[in-house]
Symmetry: C2
Subunit: 529 residues, 2 copies
């Protein structure tokens, strides 16, 4: 027996319609070289609707790809809303990638056109001839346009020339809405394609109390760039909730962000741990802040302490591009005992409503949620992908398991569903048939008062197979502790056979484009040491 519900496709048109209709009184504030730009969500929505006409004018077909090369601004948000709502696919290119990676992604995604911030035309100029797109549109942000792009059409001109009503391709729920490439720590970057329905449901889940809890009462600062999994989906969530959204542009120093929080009375902001560390060290008035959204990498204990000291809620999420990205969430309140096992850095909370998790052991058997068994975390859900963009990608076989995504994370799950990350499957060190958690070693090393950061990898060993090797960065202005001292420190904190073969002080750790430790590089460095 079928129910008789209305036909109501879950697409980003719903989100666009929502911000236009209920967003007459809430602002989108964008910081740029020309100063802050303020407009209502309704205005942003009206402009996003006109992008359909711009794409028609540019001759982008239904399903065509539109690359962006931009900082977080209202223009970038307009593209993230308007391109999919117009039946095309938006692809945010990470502006911090190498020349080669940028050219690869634009070609691989088969982008038809590219929208670039004026302030980023200089970065793109050397690649101009290699960019495999038909048109480049320059978005005026108050910066001069590099001469290489001087003849390109301007975003405001195109938007202004469109006479609504515009011709539109109506998207379907399973149509592609956006493409984002994974950071590629395991090999070449892989294209993740999100559907409209997945994007809508993911946004709705981010409005739930136990997840990101984004509400109309909030003022949300989206520090995480749009080219990082659509700023964790938060611009769509803000559009749907009618939340005031603050977009920092390129200025993401602690001082710039602190000033923005102070002036816009931001209540919640999203960033990776390193950004939060800089931000909280800044002297601005952050008294409007209520919640810290943090993900992308494990948050050090010192950050948790500082957040608690300020009376804020720390929202610690786990996820990945393949999950758009929300997978789990834990809220640490100022009342949480940070020394309790449940609040450990490795604990990432329960699955976001809608996401299903399971643990799978080395032999492929499902493991119990007993807080003891360690297996690979696998996920299913309405916003989890089942394959990558490239049908030829080997990962389409290796990263999926009978309908589940293999997340590549080793974890335990407690009986109440709380997930504890043990390591990345590719980072875990297999030594004499046993597992050594690089993550646990890194945390134990970082806990030393003279160590700011630590990264641990496995290096080949003729007898054990692999043995751990560590690189450490000393705290600012300090001297790195000796290997003997660190081994003694670790001796009381990890099993004896986990002690690293080498502990090398370095000035800085190699990182990927999204700020994670680049363990491929480190492994080569330490194996050769």
């Amino acid at each position: 027996m079928k129910a008789l519900m209305q036909e109501f496709p879950l697409t980003l048109e719903l989100v666009l319609e929502r911000c236009r209709s209920v967003g007459t009184r809430t602002e989108v504030v964008s910081v740029g070289p020309a100063g802050p730009d303020r407009r209502t969500w309704s205005e942003v929505g009206e402009r996003a609707v006109r992008i359909a006409g711009v794409l028609d004018a540019l001759g982008v077909a239904r399903g065509g790809r539109v690359a962006t090369f931009a900082w977080n601004s209202h223009r970038h948000v307009e593209l993230f809303l308007g391109v999919p709502a117009a039946g095309r696919v938006v692809h945010g290119v990470n502006v911090r990638l190498s020349d080669e990676e940028i050219l690869y992604q634009v070609r691989h995604a088969a982008d038809d056109v590219l929208f670039v911030d004026a302030s980023l035309t200089g970065r793109l100029a050397p690649l101009r001839d290699g960019l495999a797109v038909r048109d480049v549109v320059v978005m005026e942000d108050g910066s001069p346009v590099h001469p290489a792009f001087a003849r390109c059409p301007l975003y405001e001109d195109l938007l202004g020339s469109v006479c609504p009503p515009v011709r539109r391709f109506v998207p379907e729920p399973d149509d592609a809405a956006w493409i984002c490439y994974t950071s590629g720590t395991t090999g070449h970057p892989k294209g993740v394609v999100a559907s409209h329905q997945a994007a809508v449901l993911h946004s709705m889940s981010s409005m739930t109390v136990d997840s990101h809890a984004i509400s109309r009462q909030d003022v949300l600062l989206a520090i995480t760039p749009l080219f990082h999994v659509n700023a964790w989906g938060l611009p769509y969530t803000a559009a749907m909730a009618g939340t005031k959204l603050v977009l920092p542009g390129r200025e993401v120093s602690g001082a710039a962000l602190g000033a923005l929080i102070e002036s816009e009375r931001v209540t919640v902001a999203a960033a990776v741990p390193t950004v939060w560390i800089d931000l909280l060290a800044d002297g601005h008035d952050l008294s409007s802040l209520r919640r810290v959204l943090c993900g992308g990498a494990p948050a050090p204990r010192t950050l948790l302490d500082e957040v608690a000291r300020r009376g804020l809620v720390f929202c610690k999420g786990w996820g990945m591009t393949e999950m758009l990205p929300s997978g789990t969430m834990q809220h640490l309140t100022p009342d949480t005992d940070l020394d309790s096992p449940g609040a450990a850095v490795t604990m990432v909370g329960r699955p976001t409503p809608g996401v299903q998790l399971r643990l799978v052991g080395a032999e492929g058997a499902e493991l119990p949620w007993d807080g003891v068994a360690v297996g690979e975390l696998q996920s299913r859900g309405p916003w989890v992908v089942r394959a990558y963009l490239d049908p030829e990608d080997d990962s389409n076989t290796s990263r999926f398991d009978r309908g589940w995504l293999r997340t590549g994370d080793l974890a335990r799950i407690a009986p109440d569903g709380t997930v504890e990350l043990v390591d990345r499957t590719k980072d875990v060190i297999k030594s004499g048939g046993e597992w050594i958690s690089s993550l646990a070693l890194e945390q134990a090393l970082s806990a030393h008062p003279l160590v700011a950061e630590a990264a641990v990898v496995g290096v080949p060993d003729p007898y054990w197979g692999e043995r751990p090797a560590a690189a450490i960065v000393a705290t600012a202005g300090g001297t790195p502790p000796s290997t003997e001292e660190l081994l003694a420190w670790l001796g009381t904190r990890v099993p004896k056979w986990w002690l690293p073969e080498q502990i090398v002080p370095v000035r800085c750790l190699p990182r990927t484009g999204v700020g994670k430790y680049d363990k491929k590089v480190l492994r080569t460095q330490l194996a050769g040491a």
Copy 2:
């Protein structure tokens, strides 16, 4: 271009799986004649899964209808989860209906079997022979079973006899999950059929901060019966969020509910205004309470004052069975100025994310959201129906307008999306070509210190077409004010031509099965007065 997301049908199996997996530590507490029953959400989920086997044993086919006649208990919640997850349809019959209405509904819904609380077998006994079902199953709640049902199978016996794994029909997102009949103030009750996907999305929306904000941190008391639009969908929401759920059984006096809030440390409860008035007048310790969920009828100002005095948030919703029921939500905090126009009793907040609204004028044109124009409120969304159960129902034409539900409410919408209810289209009084709001007159009369309640209807008038007539109930122990006094009172509060032709003191107002004023009955009474 299609996205490559996982196949993940949104059905109540997802909710069932969720409460089983993450509900090992949160309770479902049911009050019954035998005292409180405590079990975890996981246990409730495990039992719900076994219902598939029970229905197989009873020979209920895929899509078959399962009626319930029960108070709010874990058994009733198990049926609301387990029956749809097993590919059948659950139909909660309102236990307060007349004999005739009960028999009509069970026959009209083509219910195959009926599950009845032992404590309600006495109520059903006179109807035993007329009940058009193949089997009746008795749910033991500690009360004696009426002899008319002495030979019926018992719920626990059936549940205990099922050996998992059970054979199962896997539901699809657009399969019917539950049937609920409207209260029928406009004619015979109409069957509303909810799909699985609609139920899941509605639950997710109830977890969002700006809607019901149900979280795992809450303790939720579901006072609204399951046979009233599935207790507003809150049991599904609680199952999904892993929220401790308290079910009061048949004892819903202010004192019984107060005691339950005190003992279970309830943080949020859902009920109609009259129940809240009784509850807050009770002397129990309600200090655990944080939010008051209220709907079904306009809340009187005295209730809002009392909620604010206690420092609670008043969540004022508007909706209807055809919307499962969530349509809009407004949160009044203790800081809200209840004298401000935005906090008026008639204001019901903004559309719940996912729901779209429009205003349509008498000529069928869409009206602006300017806070002035009055039109019929129409709605669309993933949890709004497009037709009633009965394909022959005239309402399938009259209540829908090109893909939108005609809600039958007259309203204004402010530019920021805030909805103000003006009246029911069927209750509004058409006098000399102008509209008089029965709702506004009722509120003005109720505001008089000696008036507890007031209901206003239109009565036929040879010259004006219709004129307003009022019935009032005096405050407890008080004398009703004279008609002259009330007309003087109204004179400063409503336009002169709105003044009622008659104001009749009555002992109590006629009400429908769900507690709304029965204006059909009142119209007859006052027209004949």
